[in-house]
Structure formats: structure tokens, C-alpha cells
Symmetry: C2
Subunit: 313 residues, 2 copies
């Protein structure tokens, strides 16, 4: 049998990333475009189509060699219908039937899911959650996203919206969150909030990568900021750990680069405050797949879905 | 084929309840004993054995007519090994291999789980969560217990300890909880805490059933207490709803009798503060099976497990 490939796409607020994967879901070619140049859904869809065609042409592949295309999307989607409800950070998208549009234009099966779910699937299949049974994956950035592996499968919830760890409240009263909630984890530890604390404490702007470096080198003020982030994240995770009794928590995204000062505060909070049986069972670890996780998860989504169809036949 | 039966047992801090079920998991006979008279695990186990024998004798059934015995237990258990780790409210139990002891004494298959899980299974199979796909079940009493139905199955977590909604923190700082946690939901809305508030406000003790009646009849102070309980419960459930995107939340236990003042506060908090997609999907409803839920869940546990074995053969 000839070689078969998957295409994985990660549509972010900043970049549109596309990769070609071999049959074991390893990246063998990639392409990145800035998202912001595509003002309309229509032009973004056109860009996706020409990128897919270009990446296939680069390897002289035609559609018969491609098993399918997976796409991770930065907002709520109807996974079954393949419809984008909206994107919080990309204007113009509202109830767009992205899957059927792309399937028609490309002549290939298309599968969609939100980016946090696909990051989680990727870490479970090929990263830091491999070998676990129940895993909680987080990405810490401007937003705090999450995905759940439950009994060895990606859990999507009753309207494909499960996993929103960033919107678990950690106080009864607190800052209003963009989501409409109150005192959501994200409103305490989202990038913007950390940057705000940095300005309060250092009286100037410091990029968060530099703040991480300062903490690693022993700057006490920088370490205190990350420790507080870890403790607040820990409080939300105590609830998640007591509720779901996972064996693995995977933390990714730029903020995860703060290193041990952050991770130690998270683990200590869980160990101190979660129930004994649950706390003893769970291991907190850094994500392994970095910014490729979305594309890798998209490829695994295609693999899972097409394998399922094979079995069903 | 002759009729087959299940036996469902609910071991609580107060009562040991045993029922005989027909093949559709309907109760056809029952027996209740006070738990406290059995000071040792040994005497409690003897009481279980003689109750099971008595309930079978009452119908002139021998073991060949019984498919198995299910037991709901008031503490953490190893479901696979059938071992009781301990009971918070019944002294003397520590790593007791209850299943193998009972299987030897009774000559019947025995299945164990914790009581909150079995309450949840019962409401899912025959009560207020019937027809849902992802359900969160709570019992409000001295403790706040919980169970989860995930994608149509009871979810137990990586060490059979999932579902502890009572130990989701609702604040970063707050009262110390018996579990070792801080600001757990239970430490705000457990029966004892509500009774304490009653004493503060009314300057006397009022049984919670009376407080519920007073609220239903329009007593503003009583209503305010229940409203606050509902709001705090709502905050914990906002986190659960954003995380798990369930389609049903079932609330049982004595406190659930407070009625609409409590349920309205819960629903309002979810509607106001949970994310739109998740909030729109979920329905909050009162448990239907009352204090029989534990036994009914135990019978369904036997049914599920023995059906599984049949399929596997």
C-alpha cells in the first residue's frame, strides 16, 4: 500500500499554521502565515485552501494520498456539524460551516475542534500526557485554555464546550471576566493580568519571557509574581483534582516557561489542599509539544476519526 | 427462564439499608437496621450477611436466584479490588477487603462503590438524570457528596475518587475543611454550617426541615439563608459547568427540600456567571429517588457489572 498522509492546521489569532504529517503523525513539512492579513472569513478560507494545495504540491501529492485534514480553531465549534460559532479574537466569524466549505473546495474529509482540545489530544497521544488515563491539559497565555482526557478519550461535553479551566471561578467575588463570569482563573493569571502586576511592582513593562528568566536567576520580586500565579492556578486545580481525580496535569503555553517556581507552587498547593487520595495520584508536568501541539492534535484527530470509520465499515 | 433478583445495600453512618430488587431494578422488599449498634467491622459484616439471608428467606429464594449484591459505602473504596480504605464517620474500618469477605460468606458476586457514585448511577438510570449524557449529581447533607456521569457512564477517576464537588474550593482563602482543604464548598453549605448561621440569625436552633418550610412560607430571613446557600453552591457549579459542559445537574439530600428559593439561586448564578454555551445547555433539577437512591444505584451496579460479564463471555 502506498504512503498516506494527514494535514494538521492550527488557526490562531496570530498565525495560521499548516503541516503535513506522515502516517504516524510526524511532521514532514510545514507552512506559517500571519492570520491578521485576512480580514474576512472568505479570504482566510482561501488562504487555508491555497496553503493546503501548496503543501501537497511541495511533495507532489494529490488528494488520494491524503487521509484528511484536521483543524484546530480558536473558539467554540460544533464538532459534529463542523460549524464555527464565533472566534473571540478574529472578527467576522459567526456560524460559519467551515467543514463543508473546505470539504467542497478541497475534496478531502475535514475535521474540526477547538485548539485547546487538540493541544490536549496531542499531549495525550505524543507528549506529556502519554500513558495517562485521565488527563487535564492547560495552556497559559492571553487566555487560559484547557482540554480533558477522560478514560482515555478526549471529552468534549454536551455542547463541545468542556475543558474551560480558565473560567473556573477561584473566588465568590472578584474581577469581572470577558466571558461574563466573576473571578475566573483567567482574570487572575491571563498574560495581561500578569503584565499589569509587573507594571505595579517594577514600575515598567517587562516581557513575560524576561520575567521568567529573572525568576530563574533568583530575582525575588519576579519569583513572587510567578509563585502567586502558581498558587492561584493551584487553587483552581485543587477543585479540578477533587472533582475529576486525574492522574496527569499538563501545563503548556508561554507562561509555563516560568519553570520550577511556577510548577512548585502549583504542586505544593495541590498537595496541601486537595484530598489525599486524589493529590497522591496526580502528577503535574510541563507540556512537551510546544507551539506545534495544535497541528499535531489536528493530525491525530484525523487519524482517530478515519480509523473509526475504517472500524465501522 | 426463572426470575432473577438483585440485592442493593446502602451502608450509611445512620442506617444499614438492604433491598431486594426484581430484574428491572424495582424494589420488592426491604430491611433497615441502625448502623451505630455495630461497633466493629466484624459485627457490621455479620449484620449484612444475616440481613441478606433474611431478605432471601422472606421470599424463599436461594442464592441461585440472586445475580449479585451491590453495596454503596460512605467513604473511599477501591472499586476494582473491593477494598474499603476507611469511613470518615464509622470507626474501625481500615483497608477492609469487604468484597472478598462477603463473597466468601454469601457465595454470591459482590460489587462495591461509594454511596455518592451509586446515588448518581440511580438518578441516571431511573431518576432525574435519565436521558442525559453528562450529568453531575450532588447530595447535600452533613457532607456534600457528588457523582459524575460522563458520556453515559459513571466516571470514577484514576483512583475511584472523582466527583468530590463538596471539596471544590469557592475562595482562595476561607474556612479550613475536614478534608485538609481550604474554603471547600462543603465548609460553607454543609448542614452544620447552615445550622450555625441559623443560630447566628435566629438566636436559636431550628431544624433545617423547619427552615425550609419557613422559607417556602415567605419568612425573609429563612429565605435569605437558603438563597446564600444556593448562591455559594452556584459558584462551585459555575466552575463545574464551564469545565464539564454537562446537560443535567441533579441535587438531592435533605437540603434540596428547601425548594425553589434554593434552586432559583443556583440556576440564576449559573445563568449569570457560567459561559453562555455551557449555561444554555444545562438543566438543574431535584433528585427523584430520595433516600432509596443508594440502594437503587447498588442494584443497577450489579446489573451493569453482570450484564458486562454476560457480554464478555
Amino acid at each position: 500500500m502506498k504512503d498516506r498522509y494527514y494535514i494538521g492546521i492550527d488557526l490562531g489569532g496570530t498565525n495560521l499554521k499548516i503541516a503535513l504529517f506522515d502516517s504516524t503523525c510526524r511532521i514532514i513539512g510545514r507552512q506559517v502565515l500571519p492570520t491578521e492579513i485576512f480580514a474576512q472569513p472568505k479570504s482566510l478560507i482561501t488562504a487555508i485552501v491555497s496553503s493546503v494545495n501548496a503543501i501537497m504540491a511541495g511533495r507532489r501529492l494529490n488528494t488520494s494520498a491524503i487521509l484528511g485534514i484536521g483543524i484546530g480553531l480558536p473558539g467554540p465549534v460544533d464538532v459534529t456539524q463542523g460549524v464555527v460559532h464565533f472566534f473571540p479574537n478574529i472578527p467576522g466569524w459567526k456560524e460559519v460551516p467551515l467543514r463543508s466549505i473546505l470539504e467542497e473546495k478541497l475534496g478531502l474529509p475535514v475535521f474540526v475542534d477547538n485548539d485547546a482540545n487538540l493541544m490536549c489530544l496531542a499531549e495525550y497521544k505524543a507528549g506529556a500526557a502519554r500513558g495517562s488515563t485521565n488527563a487535564v491539559c492547560l495552556t497559559l497565555g492571553t487566555g487560559v485554555g484547557g482540554g480533558l482526557i477522560i478514560d482515555g478519550r478526549l471529552f468534549r461535553g454536551s455542547s463541545f464546550a468542556a475543558g474551560e479551566i480558565g473560567h473556573v471561578p477561584i473566588n465568590e467575588h472578584g474581577p469581572a471576566c470577558n466571558c461574563g463570569g466573576v473571578a475566573c482563573l483567567e482574570s487572575y493569571i491571563g498574560n495581561r493580568r500578569i503584565a499589569h502586576r509587573v507594571r505595579m511592582i517594577f514600575k515598567k513593562d517587562i516581557p513575560l519571557e524576561d520575567l521568567s528568566r529573572m525568576a530563574r536567576r533568583g530575582n525575588a520580586k519576579a519569583a513572587a509574581i510567578w509563585k502567586d500565579v502558581g498558587r492561584k492556578l493551584g487553587v483552581a486545580l485543587v477543585g479540578v483534582v477533587n472533582l475529576l481525580n486525574p492522574d496527569r496535569i499538563v501545563i503548556g503555553g508561554g507562561v509555563a516557561n516560568a519553570g520550577s517556581v511556577l510548577f512548585d507552587a502549583v504542586s505544593e498547593t495541590i498537595l496541601m489542599q486537595a484530598m489525599v487520595v486524589q493529590a497522591k495520584k496526580v502528577r503535574v508536568t510541563k507540556a512537551q509539544l510546544g507551539s506545534d501541539a495544535g497541528m499535531i492534535g489536528a493530525a491525530f484527530l484525523v487519524k482517530e476519526e478515519t480509523d473509526k470509520r475504517k472500524t465501522a465499515r
